[in-house]
Symmetry: C2
Subunit: 338 residues, 2 copies
Amino acid sequence: MKGKATSFDIAHHAGVSQSTVSRALRNSPLVNEETRKRVHDIAKQLNYKVDKNASNLRTQQSSTLALLLFEDPTSDESQINPFFLSMLGSITRACAKEGYDLLVSFQSASADWQADYEDSHRADGIILLGYGDYIDFQPKFKTLLDQNTKFVCWGATVDNRPDLTVCCDNYGGGKLAARHLIAHSRTDCAFIGDASDHSPEFFARFEGFKDELLANNVTINERKMANAISTEESGYHATRSLIANNIKFNALFAASDLIAIGAIRALKEANIKVPTDVAVVGFDNIAIASYINPPLTTIAQDTTIAGQMLVENLLKLIREEEVQSTLLPPALIARGSS
Amino acid sequence: MKGKATSFDIAHHAGVSQSTVSRALRNSPLVNEETRKRVHDIAKQLNYKVDKNASNLRTQQSSTLALLLFEDPTSDESQINPFFLSMLGSITRACAKEGYDLLVSFQSASADWQADYEDSHRADGIILLGYGDYIDFQPKFKTLLDQNTKFVCWGATVDNRPDLTVCCDNYGGGKLAARHLIAHSRTDCAFIGDASDHSPEFFARFEGFKDELLANNVTINERKMANAISTEESGYHATRSLIANNIKFNALFAASDLIAIGAIRALKEANIKVPTDVAVVGFDNIAIASYINPPLTTIAQDTTIAGQMLVENLLKLIREEEVQSTLLPPALIARGSS
DNA sequence: TTGCATTATGACACCGGTGTCAGGATTAGA
DNA sequence: TCTAATCCTGACACCGGTGTCATAATGCAA
């Protein structure tokens, strides 16, 4: 047989109308049990599969979600932040569980991506993932909202719409890091990351960290802070510059694990011992964290639950159900670096 | 305006027929330049996007590829082999470059996945990725071939159809590893991996390794081989069992980096020094490899090119063009573990 | 037997584009 | 001026399903 079987072929074989075939295959209660069975058998025999394009066109939905992954434009083309890859894994699984397909696309944060998928009926909703420069995002969020596009976002908050965001309690995570360092009497802290509002996640981590230190009568010196985006390279250079400026500290909180790993490399290079001289705490608990030397103490985000929540919340939005704002609890994982 | 704009809306605004709108938007040479421009302007203004379902239904194609990622069923649910994640990244990029979307799905190797995407017209072709038990795959490959489904496969060879496979020269990679160890006078070698035909990739790596040793008059003792699947955990246990059986060796070739990382953990635990007592070489060059202690010597596969080749070859198959069998050159990356 | 509800099915319009064909308008050539 | 070629456009069938409506067949009560 050339070409794929259609429902008409089945109808012909079963001696019923195409309408009945369609109903039978979707297990409509309107169709007689015996007919239903016969149609199913023939469908299997002919290796028939419903044409999704036809079905989606008619029903005006797609059983597909789109995942847009934004990369830091400055980061190396070939490498993706392992944290997001881990999220991708859990999102894929969550989609499969809900019977949705997942379209994946990597975008640079600046590109003109808005709603391309949803407008063209490729996907019923969009998941946005990435540590981007969220300032750029706000106008795009507005466009999405205006077009009534269904989307959820990891990390970044959308104006007045906390229900569209799923993220880790970054502020609480920062506090955990501070409490841990204080408990180990390391109060002369450095911070590597971006403490501006361009990276709201990093900013919240810093704020939590700072506030918890303050609550313990410790202040963090601005000179002991250095900017970095979430790459190993960037963490390395930021730390080197602190060292080069002869800035001293006995603890270092990095806004992400990749930064922390770069920082440790810089410290080692300068013959500063981790954790003896400087205790290091990261954020994310990526897989690499436990394998480096020394193993990295970090604040873990549960990517499995995060992925599930993103998908669940998005589906609720699509079904026009109420969605709660979702803040996931972080957890300290103490390892050798502190 | 409620609902999305359709080509009829544009036709109405532009005062032309819907046919003309369709032609204009696809830049058909049949339509007058001025009309074309007017239609484009109105389309942009109305934020019109072609309905992919309708267009795909009519043209019987989808501009979409599907990526099926098979996981070792025994591996931890939450963690995906970083090597495949890296491939995923490059495949995504390659698809984007070619103007194709990518549907991603994780499957267990045993599931009944065959051609679901392609049959239902969700995707024009399928990329199969995974270290699975390829014995199970052969009958499924046959089904795919019978149905004239377009697919390419990473690693596993499909009977008599080398053009459907893209993979690294695993045999050559094994040779590289052996040559490297011999050059460092480490000839008492252990091998951890699966040297059966269930894992053709691992098998080829082992064969290359063994043959190169033989060419240098070194044989590998069967007792110094242990089975492992590609997880850290599995590598750890396999190595522990060798140690527990009091088997001695001064070099270890692991069929993958994850196995090597597990092996190093087991060696360290047994107070065996890497590389002083045992030199370790892995395979894949995953990101973690360079960060562990000591940094892992490994055989690198270029995932960027691999992803590109998979996509390019698949597109050629779809367009019914000739495809060459593709074997990618491996490269030795010498680091501290050897 | 008549009347009405229930069940199972077929006919048909429809989703929103694309491709084909026919035909009007314009221009070139004779 | 007439014919032919070229250019541009509209009408319409079509892709393969889904949802609605009409209807035939059956069952049950009056």
